[in-house]
Amino acid sequence: MAVCVAVIAKENYPLYIRSIPTENELKFHYMVHTSLDVVDEKISAMGKALVDQRELYLGLLYPTEDYKLCSYGYVTNSKVKFVMVVDSSNTALRDNEIRSMFRKLHNSYTDVMCNPFYNPGDRIQSSPPIDTDVTLGHHQDFIKKHSRAHIPHLLLGVPCIPRRGPRGAPCSQQPRRLRGDPSQALPMAPSLSHDAVSRFILGPRAFDSMVTSMMVQVC
């Protein structure tokens, strides 16, 4: 089961990070951060040799008490890296399943790039959907298509805070380190109403929901 998915830009800052069990988010963020070093090592080791598009297993990074977590990496031509942390205790995930997950992620990322409202280099943010009652599988508390995952510029390790949906969906028990209105913090599209924006912006929302479905499916 994929527990954490991250999209890292060329300059090694995160464009998108999402983890499922929200109590240990910092641990996953840290793991993604350390696997970036391995990714960089692999890229530079290729050098003049044939550069493979897909980077294979990074292997067992952190054998913890409960589960063994492996992270896998994938680099595109534009040096955008996708890192996925999976929990392989339940089922042994095959290589081609991981590859197909990365391929789907790559397709969705290409869609996001083609979105005219997305400026390359920005965080990939999804706005809340019009219908908030989407629940997937048994991870109802964690995976609702919820609001903007506001990741501040400087800190890698601040967990994503899901905002309360209009129906008062329960939030996870996270200490609220971020204050302030998310709509103020966002510089983009301030004048469009929420409905108009969500009708036009299919890219980021689809990205978020694609990642969600991918994480659940691989359980």
Binding site: V51, D52, T76, N77, S78, N107, T110, M113
Partner: protein
């Protein structure tokens, strides 16, 4: 195919619209319109530079915003330029670039003998002064794709006689 014609019409209208609005007919206003066009092309090129998988686009449509999957292993700049001449040009204009020359010191000249955006205009020296504004978007396109693939560059275009045009790409070494 119909898609190509749509893009050509849209491009023509884009140029016409930008040119109609600048009240300053001197070089200052013109430069701004050119850089707006170039900026548009840049953003499009950035999106085109993301290499997708082949299965994502229905194969019956020849014009695809995405590029074939095999265009991956870029060992050096020359590979990237070859990719531009072959795959990118085919994806956008349904034909390959006709010639690619280099001085091996970071300057490349891409020549297209029948550039689709110019071919409807004239064949020869007529409208030579008007031609550069129709090339600005494409210069931006090249620059944008190069920038997603990690190469900073400066792209200029020149027309000697329609519809042949040359794009000069100068790689900026930082």
């Amino acid at each position: 195919m119909a898609d190509a014609a749509l893009f050509e019409f849209l491009h023509t209208e884009m140029v016409a619209e930008l040119w109609a609005h600048h009240s300053d007919p001197g070089p200052g206003g013109q430069k701004m319109s050119l850089s707006v066009l170039e900026g548009m092309g840049f953003r499009v090129g950035q999106a085109l530079g993301e290499s997708p998988t082949a299965s994502a686009w229905p194969k019956r449509l020849p014009l695809s915003p995405r590029l074939p999957q095999e265009t991956l292993a870029f060992r050096e700049e020359l590979d990237v330029l070859k990719f531009l001449c072959k795959d990118l040009w085919v994806a956008v204009f349904q034909k390959q670039m006709d010639s690619l020359r280099t001085n091996h010191q970071g300057t490349y000249v891409l020549q297209d003998n029948s550039f689709p955006l110019l071919i409807r205009m004239a064949s020869g020296l007529q409208y030579l002064e008007e031609a550069p504004k129709f090339l600005a978007f494409t210069c931006g396109l090249l620059r944008g794709t190069l920038s997603t693939l990690g190469i900073k560059s400066l792209v200029t275009a020149s027309v000697a006689s329609l519809p042949t045009c040359k794009f000069q790409v100068v790689i900026q070494k930082t």
